[in-house]
Assembly symmetry: C2
Homo-oligomer: 466 residues x 2
């Protein structure tokens, strides 16, 4: 099996670029916000749109898979070589909430292109990165003259990733036979930068929760009662503040249990990357770094577990002042987890810790929205080399290694299907995931398609030699 | 000068009760919320309504006094005895914010009477307690046959008390000559209970502020950046949490400077009151007491300075989760102050403390809404005895002593006018100041009027003997 000719791939991509982008824009117009019950019909519409598009792409099988929450999409295009390896591509079709009021310059669900960038909620996270696979597999066929892919190609595109994938473990357990594969390719991550293409070797896990605190049965006068009864806003603040010690380490007992420490090799590889703190801060729209003592910024975001306050509220928030002790307060917390941590154990540790912090007179409820397990691919895994070679051809550069601070349900796939998980993402830090004015770079989208146009041949060729 | 006959006072109050209550209801319909700029015209309308009503009551002088904020009302009814003492009654015509959504059973600005109680925002705090003076002075005249009050009677009813009286010191300084008096009567406080009438001997001061914290320039992804940059919601929580130590003492350096400690006599008087913790908690709509170590609940709310979180907000507050590091957070804090504390010094201490707490990368602004100074009347002050006697006649019971945890600009009057400040309030703890379903007890409103019907004669009689 020979490698796919570059020129034929380029010709195909050039010829189909405009149609590809117009189709992607249609998909981005569907506000598939999984966290907001008001958008439930839109998440289903997004799944149906994708299934129809995969059928049109040529997948003989393209199905909606129901869950107890939002639906996923499964597609399968078998190779005509029965001995070919089977690859499962993972992505998601749901998106984060977005409204103009958050600071978007244009409607987040009306894609617009400017200066080589496509702006829309989901452009990078993750519709764009799912969608380049449709163009990539067609380019692979066109450039090789094949009628089926060189690998048995499966896609599983879920609809609840932005809500912590609560039904994903059940989904893949139920369909484990149809999802059977030799490797998973996750396309829901990023690269170091436009100029430094990288392959990601692991993702952090995530579990997030909401804590509702109840003090007085109604707002009460702070002069008549303040200083003598528990204040739920104060207690919410004390919880949030007590999450970290002065070294910004998480204080929840047992939180760090099992954490696989960074090796000297990994710390050295991180340190080799061209990290520019000022540029990184600019991408983070932030004005200083702050995090766990004795760790670099990259170590903090890639390889260390963290706790974050995503939202806090309680009491009067209108103009001026209102001298009350509020009746209620609310805290939204998320915990990023790394390989070795057990999500169930972390949730229990948080529950125990919260209950132990609160004084008499404050009732609370704690709801975890979901849990996504961390995962880590060994640096020397042979299948990783196929991804590195395919990316190297598309980008014409040496490919380096990173990890991903964000989270995806990759570890569930790894555990349930018993196969290695590889990462192929073309997003870059400035793409603004979860933020206003999310975008994707058009040329990188096409490099993603080009990488997969090379990848399936490379994997098929090298699989049995590894 | 003989004392006012009880029967004549009763007859007057009975005959004029319905008109009095109907007039009060008209005033309560004006939503004079001083903290909300949207209600600025209503605060003015409230002042104009009151001035017209005082003119109708018989005050030869009833004027709107402008400030740089909301207007106050001044009225003057000289006695025909030039040697009579001059008394200045203080109250306020502005009210706390209130909407049905806060938990009101009926429209807060559409008064309704049920079971001997009048429900409306401002019914007790403070329109009801201002308004009983109009009925009381007429009863005083009717029962004594006088055509002018036995004292030179002045009223100053301000429009910014619920906003911390930011322009009150300037107002009284500008008009000090017209406000000149021998004593101030503040009608903006409460009694121990319906069954235990009391005179208040001091009020706590108040200063409240808003702190806005700015971290990232926009909300950012907590997976990509969380754990490596400062989070303003976390920092708001850390500020709020750091306000108190584990003994619930305020940690701001210098906060307790100058505090006049409780005497053994005062602690004993507090301890003699029939304090029922379960009943008090019920009134507080709370489920446990919590406050400064080594102090009783009454000491905490009456005689100790406190810090309270009135509101906190930052980040995502919609349904479900959103894994962000938020761009901004906000904290609304109030500080109750006691005699001996300097409000300017406390504000500066808070400013210094906040600035010292925040890490690099978090910008902040801090705005104080205003300051109300604490005040304390000596237990043995002779003018206090007139109030105690007049209340004793109206209530037919022994009058005991309390303090007031809430705040009013009494100390400014004391300082600028150089006179003692006395307190005459008929509200009770269950009246729900600043809370939903605020109400006033109709029979206590009339006891307030009855007290003043006796008070002016008693003061005139005893003034020159003290």
């Amino acid at each position: 099996m020979s490698t796919t000719p570059d020129s034929a791939v380029h010709a195909y991509l050039t010829a189909h670029r405009d149609t590809f982008l117009a189709d992607l824009a249609d998909w981005l117009r569907i506000p598939s916000v999984s966290a907001d019950p008001g958008h439930t019909p839109d998440v289903r519409r997004s799944a149906e749109w994708l299934a129809a598009k995969l059928t049109a792409t040529g997948f003989p099988t393209a199905e909606i898979w129901e869950t107890d929450g939002h639906p996923a999409v499964f597609a399968h295009w078998p190779s005509d070589d029965p001995d070919a390896p089977t690859v499962l591509v993972y992505g998601h079709h749901d998106v984060q909430p977005a409204t103009r009021d958050d600071g978007w310059h244009t409607d987040p669900f009306e894609p617009h292109t400017a200066d080589g960038k496509l702006y829309a909620r989901g452009a990078a996270d993750d519709k764009g990165q799912v969608f380049f696979h449709t163009l990539g597999v067609r380019a692979h066929l066109a450039a090789t003259g094949r009628t089926t892919p060189a690998v048995h190609l499966k896609l599983l595109i879920e609809g609840e990733e932005e809500s912590g994938s609560p039904h994903f473990p059940d989904l893949i357990a139920r369909h484990a036979d149809r999802l059977a594969c030799d490797a998973v390719i996750v396309s829901d991550t990023g690269m170091w930068s436009k100029d430094t293409p990288t392959v990601c070797t692991g993702m952090r896990g995530l579990t997030d929760c909401q804590i509702d605190l109840h003090g007085p049965d109604q707002d009460i006068h702070s002069g008549s009662f303040g200083g003598a009864v528990p204040n739920p806003a104060t207690e919410a603040a004390r919880l949030a503040a007590a999450l970290h010690d002065t070294d910004r380490r998480v204080t929840v007992p047992g939180f760090y249990d099992g954490v696989i420490p960074l090796t000297d090799q990994e710390r050295a590889l991180f340190a080799e990357l061209p990290f520019d703190e000022a540029a990184w801060l600019s991408t983070a729209h932030s004005h200083a770094t702050l995090g766990e003592a004795d760790h670099t910024t990259l170590e903090r975001i890639w390889a260390r577990p963290t706790a974050e306050v995503n939202g806090i509220s309680g009491g009067y928030q209108g103009p001026g002042g209102k001298t009350i002790v509020p009746a209620t307060a609310q805290l939204k917390l998320s915990f990023r987890l790394v390989a070795g941590q057990d999500t169930d154990a972390v949730q229990q540790a948080v529950r125990d810790w919260v209950a132990a912090q609160l004084p008499d007179g404050i009732r609370h409820t704690l709801t975890f929205w979901g849990a996504t397990r961390p995962c880590l691919t060994p640096l020397d895994h042979p299948a990783l080399q196929s991804v590195v070679r395919a990316m190297g051809r598309a980008f014409g550069q040496k490919i380096r290694f990173t990890r991903e601070g964000g989270s995806g349900p990759a570890a569930d796939l790894q555990d349930v299907l018993g196969v290695p998980v590889l990462f192929l993402g073309i997003s870059i830090p400035s793409d603004g995931w979860h933020a206003p004015n999310e975008k994707v770079e058009l040329d990188l989208l096409l490099k993603g398609a080009e990488t997969t146009a090379h990848l399936w041949g490379d994997l098929a060729e090298h699989w049995h030699t590894t």
